[in-house]
Subunit: 289 residues, 6 copies
């Protein structure tokens, strides 16, 4: 389909046709308002993945047993969010059309909209599980409707009321919290209530979007808008595994790693490990189908 | 009174006369013995405040609804702690004389002494609530009586026994801990006992001083003397809100952010959010009076 | 005209009406393709200007003797280069309409186009003196016509052949060098030939644009696209002073400082000193008129 | 006239003959596969120890009351792990032969093997308590039998089954976890089960090895292989104190601080405090003998 | 021959069989005595090559016109210099056996020995042109005969007297300078004398080894042993081009980039540009044959 | 059994009585107005000296042949410049009284005053050769007479007119330049005129003070007040060697290294090499006496 990129995420050496999951990167941060750099996220995640084991003692599974194709990064223009989203949507659509699970690496959180458009086209009744520090529910931000701060509002325009389940939220404008009432299921600070949501969504198609700034800045300093008071790594790992293992996840993403802001490298290490755990959990689920 | 400085803390755009709270900075770190840089604290807090929302979902209030005047920074000499303290005291006295609440941004912790002198002059029965990793109770340090390591001892000379309530303390000389017995109420490691102190001080004037190194270094690496084993951001946020909402705080400060030691910027983000939460809690209290 | 921003460049405390030069910032880096961060340039230049003297021993003049108004930064959207350019153009036009010299602080180099559009409207026969490591003469870049890599090509569309004098150029596509023949006067590597250009332009309106990456990366690491083999600080200082003192500069800019890539702060120190020297030279010229 | 400058760990000013504990460094990281720099660990621990108090309020003891000799660092070749281990073993043997407790500062974790060889020679029935994120039980790594990733396997060859008690383990190959069954007592993630092990080992000789990457990367970013999801500082402090106070520790080490990866300095502060707490706990034990 | 690695140096997209030059990396720094990290050099050079143009205005040629195969990195063990050298030698030999030019990216300078062994086998009368701050002529270093500080001594054992031409040397033990007399042609500080050497070697096989620390630390801070007082980037560029264009270079290397020591990225930018210029000059030469 | 760990400058292992030169540090930066951290200078110079050779090919001499005692650092209070100066003066006096040459490592430039007071007491006709970017001739700075910005003015009060020879000066207030006329011999930008001064001072006692910010910030970013447009390393090395070899230097200092502002370590490498070259040149001179 496209040529294999041999600089892949750790142990993701399947080819496209044989893959159940397709990893690809969207190195875009064109609407980042505070600290840019998420464009370097996908490359950093691949590169630093070799500092981690391919085996997860948490799940007792190894990436070498899975069939993941790493398709490399899209080439995206800066300065034109709509064109970037169109390319992400097209790529996601292609992957879905082959019966594979698209796993998008951001980039800023706006990239989710491109992938979700494609997923929503295939699964019109799809729900979103959203981990984030920020509600991302603004109508517009700095005069723009397409922004990392509006992405869930745009997704809501497609998905409709009652389809978006938000966890970890601890920041936003007052208007976002008011607006969300009756429209999204917004859980503050942590993952309380996730189990109920997972049960409620049983068997229905789910898009999982992980904005890594849901983590506490001590764990994940390398991001565009660090928000104190977040969850621990173990809390996120368990929450992501719960969704990936128990929901019917048909597409997902991990966004907002901005490597230049963390010279220590712990942020990319956290991102890598979350991606590994999600891949292993998703692969498990797929096999069980 | 003095000219408005339009490079203010986020949304603190009141003028002096209309303000209930007056924010001002004391960029002094002349006695810092280990890692200097707290002089850059106030400017960094203002600058990075624009990375945060003005709205707090924790308190459901917005800075834009408050009346805070940001008076900018004092110009302080290095090499003369006594002169620096005199200028801080004079400025605090001016603010108090107009019936406003002074909110001081350090600088090293010694700056507290200047503000407390003024507060004690107006409220001779004032108590201190003190959040810190260090007891700061030495008689002298490196041969000097005026030092970040002696500041609470100097405050005690004014306030007397039973007036200082210390929380989070996990470092000091043996002599400080011995000396404190019967003189200050010293709580180790965390905020256990704070609720009782808050209740005991009901209605009485309180000076709240927050040395941000009470936070764990993972949350707040950018400080002069990081001390492992501290509190989480949420613990500090709740403790500060408890005091600001339930005590009669007549003056306060936030000190010891040293930006050069944290390139990731999470320390200043933590400082900004604590200042926002304190401002919103204090404004609430004032209105309720 | 607009309110005075008291967080100004060193000693630039004139008000708008009394000013001969108006400094303003365009914190935009929306088309930066490699290392973003130029959005933080104007604020860093102001902030760090206090580490320098206001007096230049090179010119034996002091900023306190000049009449410069620092108008602060424009609020620009990310994700829409055309809108950002429109705001820069409007602001420049306003300054020019009052008979003042606009001095723009970038931001990425694309911001020049906004200011040059306004200058060209007022002075249709205006020439450009351009200091840069890169030719910036592409027809488009990553599919976009508005980009830091196309900015001189867009300016040429307005100015026409023989109006753009480029110095220090040491990078570009082959096509840019070929295209430039007969259209721009392109000098490679350094400022050889500048004196002749300055003499040739005597008395005619000039726009001076300084992309600071013309400096060697050792002197100026904090930029989006460092290109080894550049000029020394003294070479740039003398070249900028030659233009500002001997040409009829009617508008100018200094661009491409990207502070996050240089923790040592020498890049911003170089930017600050160039701005000071240009301001002092321009003020000299204006008085001599 | 005046004495030469001695650079010791904080307050460890005993001479060799009078010392009960001998601190020494092994600045070796020759097999580090991911992020080198542990060679700078011992010097950083000494240097930054002066940022901490010599008094521990946790233990109510002061280093000035102990008798610790800081013997400085070994000079070790890079490129020859076997020779480095031989030098560490010889030095440890010398210290043990004088009836003193060797306290080794790494360096990478492989250095443990040198010290353990000496300890095992003197105490053939010795057990190991091992705090680490990684199991370190591989037969070989990148083709080498001597590696930071194989060190516990090599120790097992000496100690035999049932002698190694591992805590905090959260990473490794699948084969390591399988191999450990029946051979080592491997506890995952945290220190659950430590109390039982301490009781079981009562009165028997113990070697305590602390790979500081058992800490969460937020607390300890400065290490060769950061592994998200670790223990807090307080958890490690209490666990180390439990072993040092209640077991018959005859030798110990603290390894894997890699200062270049943490500019904020919180990692070295954590290492310093753990060393202080261990020294104070061990000295306590020795006196009680 | 081996599979194409699609994460290549900029525009080096030839396949092995069609290539005239074969680029490959040796990520080894196992004998680095001071500041490790050269192991990350080859990956950084590839990754950051996309920040540079493929076209050189200096040479008026473009990498897209050349036939360079980027073979990726060898997998080398740490802790065994001899085994690492054997793998480098084998790979170099393979490339030479196919009539192609091996271009090795270090890694520390010891890697040169592996490649030179292979080149010397094929060309027994080969000479070395050596750019470096350090003489690297020790008999042994820290007890080891294989070290970055002994590499030219080891090469001399193969090449013999009068075959090694050293430039830029400004550091070493006294013994190295004495020993070199009559054995190597050692030029201090800069490239004076290079033209004569190039002429003297006309038509004879040459191995060019560039230790990038020959550059001044201001230009190239990211290296293991920075030595003040080095050459400028332009001096190195011209010297390397002179050798590559005018000598019969049959193999070459560029070593000692250590990315972790330079967060600004100017060191890797310098390395990338030197590699580009050498590739373009060598390709020129080959065609002219 | 084994000797205590001594931490000296590279190869400076003489004892006090046998030494001709005594190195000592004054880790003071209490009046630094811009970027503090010079307090860490002396320790960094010692520590990093081991990255350099003890042999200088420039001078063909080796530190191991000299007799230098490294006396470690003074313990100085922050917050009291006068007390710090008194301690520096006393220590310098002691060294001079034993007929040895004091070599002071700063710290900020104010420390020079302490050492110069002692030298002036012994040699009332002493002259000063001063390398610096800044004139340091203010009457007071931020209200203080004792400051890094006033130190040469204070020295002038002791030495009188015509005794201070300044080189490299490129920054100051206008008043400083006016005041210097007829009082100091102030040379701008570089070392032009140094040879004449050296000849003029032949045989007369000289105090050499090197503020390392005379270097260009590209070479020496790690300093409190970087000033673009400075000298190269080789220019400083040759100038310092000229003074140390040809003048009768009776005391000297090297100041203003501020390590926290340069993570790359090139600043400390430059400082170390200048100290080495000065030590070797001074030792030469002493022997030739």
């Amino acid at each position: 389909m496209w040529n294999r990129n041999t600089d892949t995420f750790l142990s993701c050496v399947s080819d496209f046709d044989g893959a159940g999951i397709v990893l690809f990167g969207a190195p875009f941060d064109g609407t980042t308002s505070y600290r840019p750099g998420a464009r370097f996220g996908p490359a950093a995640i691949r590169r630093e993945s070799y500092g981690l084991e391919s085996y997860s003692p948490h799940l007792d599974r190894d990436l070498s047993e899975t069939s993941v194709f790493d398709g490399g990064d899209l080439e995206l223009p800066f300065g034109s969010p709509e064109r970037a989203l169109a390319e992400i949507e097209a790529r996601t659509e292609l992957i879905l059309s082959r019966g594979k699970l698209p796993f998008l690496l951001g980039g800023e959180h706006l990239v989710t909209l491109g992938a979700f458009r494609a997923a929503h086209k295939k699964y019109p009744d799809i729900s979103i599980i959203h981990f984030d520090a920020h509600a991302d529910l603004r109508e517009e931000y700095l005069g723009e409707r397409l922004s990392h701060a509006t992405v869930m509002r745009r997704c809501h325009e497609l998905a409709g009321d009652g389809r978006i389940f938000q966890f970890g939220i601890r920041s936003g404008e007052q208007g976002e919290f008011i607006w969300s009432a009756g429209r999204t299921e917004l859980h503050r600070h942590n993952f309380n209530g996730l189990d109920a949501s997972v049960r409620a969504l049983a068997g229905r198609p789910v898009y999982l979007t992980v904005d890594l700034d849901v983590l506490d800045p001590s764990v994940f300093p390398g991001t565009g808008t660090p928000e104190p008071g977040g969850v621990s790594f173990e809390e996120l790992r368990l929450a992501a595994a719960a969704v990936c293992s128990n929901c019917r996840v048909v597409a997902c993403d991990v966004t907002e790693l901005s490597p230049p802001w963390d010279h220590s490298g712990i942020s990319v290490a956290a991102a890598v490990k979350i991606v590994r755990e999600m891949l292993l959990s998703l692969a498990t689920f797929n096999e069980e189908e």
